[in-house]
Subunit: 318 residues, 2 copies
């Protein structure tokens, strides 16, 4: 039913980790059904087959290393589009059962990427404790809760369902790290423009990468479309063919973005539109202001220039 | 002792996984000491502190999701340089104890990223088997060997130390996937040029990313320096500052590469040189030919042009 908000959400599981926390910042998800998926491909397939309406998966700077797989799976299979992004600070705490003193901690359960991100803190505060690898932040919390290990590194959100105390908070070495999640849905009209939107693309170009990539960037720059992310990915299937994932400022409904997209369509082997959606404004360490269209590149300017060209072509040189 | 080849290697552990396999393709490592590290930062720190001479870690398209952490750790701390790359095909097999028939497999131990990459094969051949997450390919092999699970997905190399049969080989959904590893050492003279080299850089630019990135690419393109990889990384510490990781064709000892580097030094907030090293030629799906300097851009051409400019400046217009 067009216009009905999606109600069945999947997210990269297990429950009790960052992806569930990110999903629950979305009001419709708080009201809807939320199902964990075992992997990013499984989450995306659930949307492709119609078993779910939207999937929330990590895209950038992930704790679980799922970024590359998300990029690859987005373009491998039936089209999906990003309808929303959620940016969450990566925060870790050391938790233990009530009564466990920090000085007595001998073993710490942690996902390998979580302990990696808290390495300095562990060296300074628990130099003699053994770190025990577990498969997720949720599993770490469970291992501390049931007494298998003395303590656990996990996200504050992961403590939720256990009776655990926080022995130390903000223990990540980089306290401004964030993870960026995206909500993916089957293709449909993009969310309305807000004046502070992003457009995601995958562009495929052949052979000479500097020259071809220069041409791609010039199509964007000449329309004042800025780039907030670029990533090259090898495309296994074709020799000398390269994929670039781009996040640009602006919305597909804007004239300047539309003109840039048409330019890319003309010069690239293939362009996959991955969605226009509101930018999630976060203050910890990222840009926090909307990026307006540069002077001369608003829709009004485009309309004025188009009317002028029409007059030229019809002979009205006034 | 300058000139002495490094003999103490660390690699991203545990033993029996892809990184050890990659390391053992290097003759000096086959003769030297090889120590697994718990994490990429731990491996790099061992080199920085002098506990090891070189560290082998995954850089691109990794199975372990360690790419972002490798990029970040390379530029976070005392300088390290890449002296070698190793490109390995990502291959997975299904193994089990001798006598276990494929049809009787009810449980499969696998690292989550390994089972994700073999998803289609599992759906087609073992639709009813339960996948049990474990922490590494080596742990998967061990779980099958000691009978905890009926079978395991792992790298062919991981079987080594166990008595296991291969029930099916080449079970990855994308049979041309590769992982790219790099060998990192403390700064020193780069390996000699081979005519088929790569140069890795981290460049930092401020604010307007399209314009600044365009300028970076033009410095390369005008010298015929091609790009084989580009990746943007958020730099948490400074607002509106962006890092790009670039791999370029050519060696720092070449005039055209030297001139391009000087150009980048002039226009970028910061340029970190991450090494010049021989390109690992692999045939599965990547380019397999050396990329010669374009016409007019060889060292001979540079010497000729420099001599000509000297004559102009001294008044010899002949």
């Amino acid at each position: 039913m067009p216009g009905t908000p999606p109600t069945r959400f999947v997210y990269l599981g297990p429950a009790g980790t960052f992806a569930e926390q990110a999903l629950r910042t979305i009001p419709a998800a708080e009201r809807g059904a939320r199902t964990p998926a075992r992997s990013v491909p499984e989450a995306l397939d659930a949307v492709r087959t119609g078993d779910a309406d939207s999937a929330l998966v990590p895209l950038e700077n992930s704790v679980g290393g799922a970024v590359a797989i998300t990029l690859d799976e987005m373009v491998d299979g039936a089209p999906l589009v990003i309808t929303r992004e959620v940016v969450l600070p990566v925060e870790f705490v050391l938790t233990a059962r009530p009564g466990q003193p920090l000085a007595g901690v001998r073993t710490v359960a942690a996902h390998p990427q979580a302990s990696t991100q808290c390495r300095r803190w562990l060296r300074d505060h628990l130099p003699d404790a053994a770190v025990v690898d577990v498969l997720s932040n949720a599993a770490a919390a469970a291992a501390a809760a049931d007494g298998q290990q003395d303590a656990a590194i996990c996200a504050p959100f992961s403590i939720g369902r256990h009776r655990l105390d926080v022995l130390a908070d903000k223990i990540a070495d980089h306290d401004d790290a964030v993870t960026r999640f995206v909500l993916l849905s089957r293709p449909g009209p993009p969310p309305p423009r807000t004046g502070d939107d992003l457009t995601s693309l995958a562009v495929y170009i052949a052979h000479d990468r500097v020259g071809a990539l220069l041409a791609v960037l010039m199509e964007l720059a000449v329309r004042g479309v800025n780039l907030t992310r670029i990533e090259s990915r090898p495309t296994g299937e074709a020799l000398g063919r390269y994929a670039f994932f781009l996040d640009c400022t602006g919305h597909v409904a804007e004239d300047r973005v539309g003109e840039a997209l048409q330019g890319l369509r003309r010069i690239c082997a293939e362009v996959r539109f991955l969605g226009s959606y509101p930018r999630h404004r976060w203050t910890a360490s990222g840009p926090d202001r909307p990026v307006p269209a540069p002077a001369g590149l608003s829709d009004v300017d485009y309309a004025d220039a188009a009317a002028w060209l029409s007059r030229l072509r019809s002979g009205e040189l006034s």
